[in-house]
Subunit: 245 residues, 2 copies
DNA sequence: ATTGTCACTTTGTCATGACATTCGCAGGTT
DNA sequence: AACCTGCGAATGTCATGACAAAGTGACAAT
């Protein structure tokens, strides 16, 4: 019921107050300071406690709700969810995801060339069929074990890159430093089985299951700047999501 | 740039204003009234036009951003995204998803029994291992072609059901009428290959790829009320998501 | 014992006002 | 011609205030 949370807010920081509060609460929930089923104080009192207005407090709670950490009920209050929460999918690309988990990863560029856009790629990137695009195939390994076979297409007017820069920083980082700022991605997850070539590269047997992911990334102008078709070893990767009403 | 949108708001309706506006705009975008790349009016003027306050207008825009329909840039404005947008994943269960698309579907209950909870199920439903749960296996077909093999577990204290009610309305509808109100679900999507039994039921060959989905649904109290392990034919089903910064 | 009513609490919705931050552009300076 | 500066425009953040709707529990009436 009551919580002796110690949250210090920095009003001069460029990071918004609602985000500071939400992050602090998220951490408190994840590290057990606020155990599952805990009933939080009401919004008004919480806002008062942190010297915030209620809209700001609500904005923080909204974020927690969207991330699947708490549940709100009108007339009742806000509770920490009962089931353990997995970390959610983000628009950060696999590279960041793994890096933050402290794993040692390596990316090998298998191929980098300019090709005419296929009908599928042209449609996803809003180009004309046959227009030239950069095509890169990479193999990503974690702890020296292959994990993902990634195929991506980028229009030349978005950015140009080389094998070296690609292997070093990950595609998204590279594009970001080239001035592209991602805002959004549409993503489709499915399944397939490995053919002989894919199996050899990924270190599995032909016919083993693979998770497929097709992603189209959009920049802040709403234009498609990159699309990709990725294959993951099904025994070592899956996609988590939280759905909220 | 300018838009001659005809949106009529019903201030006496129980559905919130921001939702009315967001739905109207979403439809305008999907049906082409607001084509891709269109620059919307600024928030202030839009709010004025609909006789709304700016926070309410912003709340509507927020929803469009989360659904991946528009992109906002500070100092610039709001644009409809350039790439075609697929409809997003919702907490509605497959039954509703397909029903709204007008397909003819049939659900066959293959098995319905009470079993002791396995370690995995117990953890997902926050029960003790060995505690009794209802276990149901269903085969869902669309247009007489099998699509999904679904295995679900529900604690007895949540709801009781029979083969008839299950086949009729879908699991989520059934639980809803039993007084359960879903708020949230955690979901993991992966891949596997069909074994002989699964292949026979789904009408594919042994070794064909399947999309796997493990979902745990929570009610408004944040307690787990249902979990499931589903298998979908990879050639006929996949999961779409929109990721937003 | 059941039902209905009422008060209270808490979240949901909406309005108004203010200032900060960022982007794009025009115009002037070097 | 290139660079810098300042201005306007648009979204981002935050505060205050108010009422609505829904759940909970106590109490009274049937």
């Amino acid at each position: 019921m009551s919580d002796q949370l110690e949250i210090t807010l920095d009003r001069s920081s460029p990071v918004p107050l609602y985000h500071q509060v939400a992050s602090a609460l998220e951490q408190a929930i994840r590290d057990g300071t606020l155990p599952p089923e805990t009933k939080l104080e009401n919004e008004i009192d919480l806002a008062k406690r942190f010297n915030l207005s209620r809209p700001t407090m609500r904005q923080a709670m909204d974020q927690l709700v969207r991330d699947g950490l708490v549940v709100r009920r009108r007339g009742v209050g806000t509770q920490v969810v009962g089931a353990p929460v997995r970390r959610n999918l983000r628009l950060s690309s696999l590279y960041d995801d793994l890096q933050t988990e402290g794993a040692v990863q390596r990316t090998e560029v298998l191929s980098l060339e300019r090709v005419p856009a296929s009908a599928d790629v042209a449609e996803r990137l809003q180009l004309r069929v046959g227009e030239e695009v950069q095509h890169v195939v990479r193999l990503r390994s974690v702890d020296e074990r292959p994990l993902a076979l990634m195929e991506n297409w980028v229009p030349p007017h978005v950015a140009e890159f080389s094998r070296e820069t690609l292997a070093a920083g990950g595609l998204y980082n590279l594009l970001r430093t080239a001035g592209v700022d991602f805002r959004m991605a549409h993503q489709r997850v499915g399944a397939d089985v490995a053919d002989a070539r894919q199996a050899k590269l990924l270190g599995v047997e032909t016919g083993d299951p693979l998770v497929t992911m097709d992603r189209t990334a959009l920049d802040s102008g709403g234009r498609a700047v990159e699309c990709g078709h990725h294959l993951y070893r099904a025994d070592r990767y899956s996609f988590d999501t939280t759905l909220v009403n």
